[in-house]
Amino acid sequence: MATASPDPLTTEFVGRRWPLLWLALRTGGLTVLTFGLYRFWMKTRLRRWYWSAIRPGGHPLEYVGDPFEKLLGFLIAVVFLAFYIGIVNLVLMFASFALFHGNVAAYALSFVGVMPLWFYARYRARRYVLARTRWRGLRFGLEPGAWGYAGRAMMHWLLTVFSLGLLLPRMTFALEKYRTDRTFFGTERFEQGGRWTMLYRAMRPLFVAAILLLVSITVFMTTNDPLPTILLGGLGGLLFVYGIVHYRVESLRLLTQEKRLSGVRLSLVASPMRVFWIMSIGYVLAVLSILLPGGILGYLVIALQFANEAPQASGIGLLRSLPHWVLITLSAMLYFSVFLIWSAVTHVFITLPTLRHYAQRLQVLHPQALSGIHQRPRDAAEQAEGFAEALDVGASL
């Protein structure tokens, strides 16, 4: 093959805010009206929308997941998990009070007991999403291996905790390698290159933050002067929050540029500062947007609580003249609208801009090697992401 390789494929992002806001509000409203049943359709439709907005080399990704298979997977998960959660929680609560005279032990044990399931669910969810994602007509895929993933994740978490976070890059790398080495595009397998130590550079802001926090504690221990402690500690805390975002974005960038798909390489020049900025602005906007309905709701709840005590002339007294059920209906509507608005605003001002940033900074290098790749068979992925849905694993997309 000639040494002059063709230009890399750049990625377009075509999603706009208004259509997404409308889609998120509409599907969210239907979810509330159906007591949560529509959430499988909501998730499917939002994914279809996001996927189609990302166009590497000018061709959109397509999400072909089906809401009914999600519902089915969820039902299957409920049959198994209801037993586990119900009985285990009950027994733990009993044991905890009988032996330790408190509920802390129960919560801790229950948390530890669910953790392997949580990682299992994450892997299964990823497998499902990849199996339902296509680009240029070819399916992605992830080999089975969820329990292996859960076992490794538990072990690495333990190591990370015992090393006070120093082995975090080892965990990030090992888990990403486990997933990537089992990921396919069509017939071709991905491969994660690089070494785990390369991720230490992504931790720099976290190290600086840790030093600042340690210094602030030392200063307080020796001088008892609160002012430098507050200043240093505040700076350290802020840098720590930034450091977490920095680590996530930077490690993603480093790992992505070491991924291989036959001859194809990827490049992601994402900026941690930009992502941090998007998230800061996004959350500020989200909080501002729920202030009004949230405030009215708080006022109504107080009105309901103190309806008997308040003097007639005050605003609360006037509310009292309304029938009780009107107040309750109003409160319920406001309560749901707070969640709806929050979800829609975070989609529009956090998920969309973050995804756009990543997409626009993503390039596919040496794309000529794609031509040798063929279709892979369909993965039934029967349980879909049922376990992830039931356990609320918290994948935003």
Binding site: V14, L20, L23, G28, T31, V32, F35, G36, L46, R48, W49, S52, A53, R55, H59, D66, F68, L72, L75, V78, V79, A82, F83, I85, G86, I87, N89, L90, V91, L92, F94, F97, A98, L99, H101, G102, N103, R136, G137, L138, F185, G186, I302, L304, Q305, F306, A307, N308, E309, S331, A332, Y335, V338, F339, L340, I373, H374, Q375, E389, A390
Partner: protein, 372 residues
């Protein structure tokens, strides 16, 4: 695209992209409408001719880029035809039709299995186990469970967000409360020591907690017209303590809340639905327990020479007050059964009091127990 003037529909042709779904190449294709205006046709890069009749063409929905139209074919799940505009849409009668539901039977079967398994666990398994385990929990653990729950309730009822609501401990009031408790419990052996606590809150309510806690709200003490009425409510709550209802209840909700959380997931405000459902389950659960506690209260009152009729008086007062009872929860309490419980208290064997259960001074002190 050209527009032909004359009879018949205008000729349609456009450049497009075809995804065969067998390899990663995107074929640029020239798409036309057949002569009889019934299908789209093109030749792909392999030289193969494709013919998609209009009725089997579907639009791939929820696409964010409106600059293209993605079409699929009802009989092939991987092939895609991408057109640069939506001009063809009016000719596709079924473009918006959704894919039919595959595996309907399996879906229904698993839905039934899920409902049955949840019903079995919440309705049978968890209550049975809670009933059994409640007997084995050691007194110290039960006491801790009660303390924890009382702390949670005190924080939950606080509206200021500053501190949990106060426990009233005005000395003379405490003494009167102790007197009332002793009168009631003089004739019975309790499984553990009773702790009667008054909370500074206007709600007209009372409840029992694991470990021998009986909790009265200041609102209830003020609503009671006579010490007998208050004693009646206390006797009822002591009935719960004796049959260990609160302990079962606590273990039960530990199990069922987790399962319900599973069902509702994290959809907008799912927590509220979860909370209400849990309340409803508990309300129905407590019907039998309430009746048992009432019967116990009648007996306890007869032993203490207090006419059980006082319980009926108190229920009536609660019912009248209910219009003004603050809070949403009052509406979920066991409403229709109150009449039956009043009738039961009236029809049970009555006794003549030898002496008032509290003298006027002690009763006043008890009503002032939350005074600063």
């Amino acid at each position: 695209m050209q527009i032909r003037v004359g009879s018949g529909p205008p000729r349609f042709e456009t450049a497009g992209h075809f995804l065969s779904g067998t390899h990663a190449q995107v074929d640029p294709v020239h798409v036309t409408v057949t002569e009889d205006n019934t299908a789209l046709t093109w030749v792909d890069a392999q030289g193969e001719t494709h013919l998609w009749p209009f009725p089997i063409i579907r639009e791939v929905p929820d696409q964010s880029g409106r600059d293209i139209l993605v079409l699929r074919n009802h009989y092939d799940s991987v092939q895609r035809l991408i057109l640069p505009n939506r001009d063809i849409i009016p000719r596709l009668p079924n473009h918006a039709q959704v894919a039919p539901l595959a595996n309907r039977g399996r879906l229904i079967a698993w839905a039934f299995a899920a409902v049955a398994s949840v019903a079995l666990i919440i309705g049978v398994l968890v209550p049975r186990m809670a009933d059994q385990l409640a007997l084995f929990i050691p007194p110290k653990g039960e006491r801790a469970l009660g303390e924890t729950t009382l702390g949670q309730i005190r924080s939950a009822l606080d509206d200021t967000g500053l501190a949990p609501i106060a426990i009233c401990n005005q000395a003379a009031g405490q003494k009167a409360l102790g007197l009332l408790t002793d009168t009631l419990t003089y004739h019975v052996d309790l499984p553990f020591e009773l702790s009667v606590v008054v909370l500074d809150h206007p709600m007209v309510n009372a409840f029992a907690l694991p470990g021998g806690y009986v909790v009265l709200f200041d609102g209830l003490i003020n609503a009671a017209q006579t010490p007998q009425e208050l004693a009646a409510v206390m006797a009822h709550e002591i009935g719960h303590v004796v049959s260990r209802d609160p302990t079962r209840h606590a273990l039960r909700s530990a199990g069922s809340i987790g399962v319900l959380g599973l069902l509702f997931g994290d959809f907008a405000g799912g927590a509220a639905v979860l909370f209400l459902t849990e309340r409803l389950i508990n309300a129905s659960y407590s019907q039998a327990a309430e009746e048992r506690a009432d019967i116990f209260a009648h007996e306890l009152m007869r032993l203490a020479k207090i006419p059980p009729l006082a319980l009926a008086d108190m229920f009536r007062r609660l019912e009248q007050d209910d219009g003004g009872t603050p809070g949403i929860l009052a509406h979920l309490s066991s409403h229709p059964q109150v009449r039956d419980r009043i009738r039961a208290a009236e029809q049970t064997q009555q006794v003549q009091p030898d002496f008032p259960v509290l003298d006027a001074q002690s009763w006043r002190a008890l009503q002032q127990i939350c005074a600063p």
